[in-house]
């Protein structure tokens, strides 16, 4: 009797797994294999595909537009990931030191941008970053005594477009990092700070000897999540600049869309998509390995 019950349990277990297995096999594993296949071919999406070997991957480095998109991605990583993490780290440390009340309120406010649909974020920031007009960044700067009130088309000029997009990303991700770091800093026993303070440590020393090492894992989580978000910046950039002016804000995600659905080069789009996946895995596991290694 025991055997048959065990067998029945096993069957129920499989029955519970079956729908997930089917969905993941059909719409994750199989398409990924298809994408890997496309990436080794030249195909316009309609006609006959021809073998391309590693050509589409070589192009990612050789083609100036594709290479440029990777460079832009690298720069955006600073804005998406490092700047918001650093700023929120300083902020939570300040709040802890001064025992500021209202932590819950600030948490709700700072996190709010994360709950705003990305297309909407892009639209409102294209208005705020317009060359002139009421309520724009340029006008506010002018009122504060900086700039002439009209001029810089932040998202439209070659030198400022990428940092401007990066600024929007930092605005978006600051609250995310903040919310990730608050519970961590609340876990640090106050005695640790008291101990270094007795030794006469200042703000900076306290920050680097206690806050940063104690929050190692939380910082790692914040950097990982925001870095992965940077790789998936398609919506924000499509809507804010569409990769322009020229290729000033072109990123790999946008090239996937352009290549596959506008230019009809399915192979190069797929090679970029696969490369983006590999980058996500490297970032996620790389940051984790780094943190675990420094833990000992």
């Amino acid at each position: 009797m025991k055997v048959s019950r065990k067998r029945r349990e096993r069957l129920t277990g499989w029955a519970f797994l079956a729908p997930a297995v089917i969905v993941l096999a059909w719409l994750i594993v199989y398409p990924l294999i298809r994408a890997a296949g496309y990436s080794l071919q030249n195909w316009d999406g309609v006609g006959v595909a021809t073998w391309a070997g590693a050509h589409n991957y070589v192009q990612i480095i050789a083609d100036p537009v594709e290479r440029g998109s990777l460079v832009n991605l690298g720069i955006l990583l600073i804005f998406y990931s490092l700047i918001p993490t650093a700023l929120s780290l300083v902020t939570v440390n300040l709040m802890r030191r001064s025992k500021t009340r209202g932590g819950g309120f600030f948490r709700v406010v700072f996190f709010l941008p994360q709950a705003i649909v990305t297309v909407v974020v892009a639209i409102v920031w294209t208005w705020l970053l317009a060359p002139s007009g009421p309520g724009t960044v340029n006008e506010i700067g002018h009122l504060a005594g900086i700039g002439s009130g009209s001029g810089t088309p932040w998202l439209g000029s070659f030198s400022t477009a990428l940092p401007a997009v990066g600024f929007i990303a930092a605005w978006l991700d600051f609250g995310l990092c903040f919310v990730l770091l608050v519970p961590g800093i609340q876990r640090i026993p106050p005695e640790l700070y008291d101990a270094v303070r007795v030794d006469g440590a200042g703000l900076l020393k306290e920050f680097f000897t206690i806050t940063v090492p104690m929050l190692r894992r939380d910082i790692g989580a914040a950097i990982t999540i925001t870095a992965v978000a940077a790789l998936q910046s398609f919506t924000l950039i499509y809507q804010a600049t569409n990769g322009g002016p020229g290729y000033a804000t072109m990123v790999p995600g946008l090239l996937v869309y352009r290549d596959a659905f506008q230019l009809g080069t399915v192979g190069s789009a797929s090679a970029l998509g696969i490369t983006m996946s590999v980058l996500i895995f490297i970032l996620t596991f790389g940051i984790r390995a780094l943190i675990e290694r420094n833990a000992t």
């Binding site: 993941l24 719409l27 025992k99 500021t100 649909v117 297309v119 705020l128 009421p134 983006m276």
Partner: protein, 273 residues
């Protein structure tokens, strides 16, 4: 011991950050509340408030249809993926049939893949099924991604339930389904809520997938509709702002009412603590 100055500086920095965070959102709402065509250059702070831009966006701008489409897709994805992911997570954590671990690895792997890696094959898969320009082309791929996340997420939740709980229920003669829905799911309620909130956010916010899968304007989701509306009426700022507010509102409401659930799910992105 702490100086008063330090406390003031901290409060000032926090307030400044709050202002920078909120200003764009206030500017958006204010623009949406100006009379239609009352705003000639983006943002406006009109003293005369009006809802006319909202009614224009809702009716003439087709946002009623865009919102309905998005709601259909989002509800379908949340419901279907929850129904699939909860039993799968349970089976991997507690029933553990042979091979279950592989599903877990596949789920984690699938959850990390970006849409950009799968959008091209998805398009050709759905094209060969004649499902381009249908709700299914927007629902099914997002179900797959949400199941990938949800299976892992529910596995973690079920794993934390003490084994004694399910053992005593089995001894009492509960069937596997009763055990799952009556006894175990109530114990992982917060995890289910978090999963549903996150899937809701992701699906409502989705852009690349509906952009690629649907060209029929009657099926546009609100994100794609908004983008198309901006392309066609870029200088109708009030209506565009009103449409933006409509698009953003449902997620903001879910966030305000289910903050804890939202925030609890954040660490999921950093994976397998």
């Amino acid at each position: 011991m702490l100086s008063r100055a330090e406390r003031t500086v901290c409060a000032a920095i926090l307030l400044l950050a709050a202002v920078i965070t909120l200003y764009p959102l206030i500017a958006l709402v204010s623009t949406a509340l100006t009379p239609k065509n009352g705003s000639s250059s983006g943002i406006s702070f009109s003293s005369h408030l009006s809802l006319s831009a909202f009614s224009y966006a809702w009716q003439s701008g087709d946002f009623s249809r865009f919102m309905l489409n998005t709601a259909i897709v989002t509800v379908a994805v949340v419901v279907i993926s929850t129904v699939i992911a909860v039993p799968a997570g349970y089976a991997i954590a507690l029933a553990r049939p042979p091979g279950a671990r592989w599903l877990l690895y596949t789920a984690v792997f699938g959850f990390m893949l970006p849409v950009e890696a799968l959008i091209v094959p998805w398009y050709y898969q759905f094209r060969s099924l004649n499902l381009i320009n249908t709700y299914w082309a927007m629902i099914l791929p997002q179900v797959a991604q949400s199941v990938a996340f949800g299976t892992f997420w529910m596995y973690v939740a079920f794993r934390s339930i003490p084994a004694s709980l399910s053992e005593s229920a089995v001894i009492d003669g509960a069937s596997p389904l009763t055990l799952l829905w009556r006894i175990l799911v109530p114990n992982v309620g917060p995890a289910v809520k978090t999963m549903a909130a996150l899937v809701f956010l992701w699906t409502w916010n989705a852009f690349l997938l509906p952009l690629v899968m649907v060209s029929n304007q009657n099926l546009f989701t609100v994100t794609v509709g908004l983008s198309a509306f901006q392309g066609a009426h870029f200088n109708n700022y009030a209506a565009l702002a009103a449409g933006s507010c409509l698009a953003a509102l449902p997620v903001v409401l879910v966030y305000l009412f289910a903050q804890r659930s939202f925030i609890a799910g954040l660490f999921a992105g950093s994976l397998v603590e």
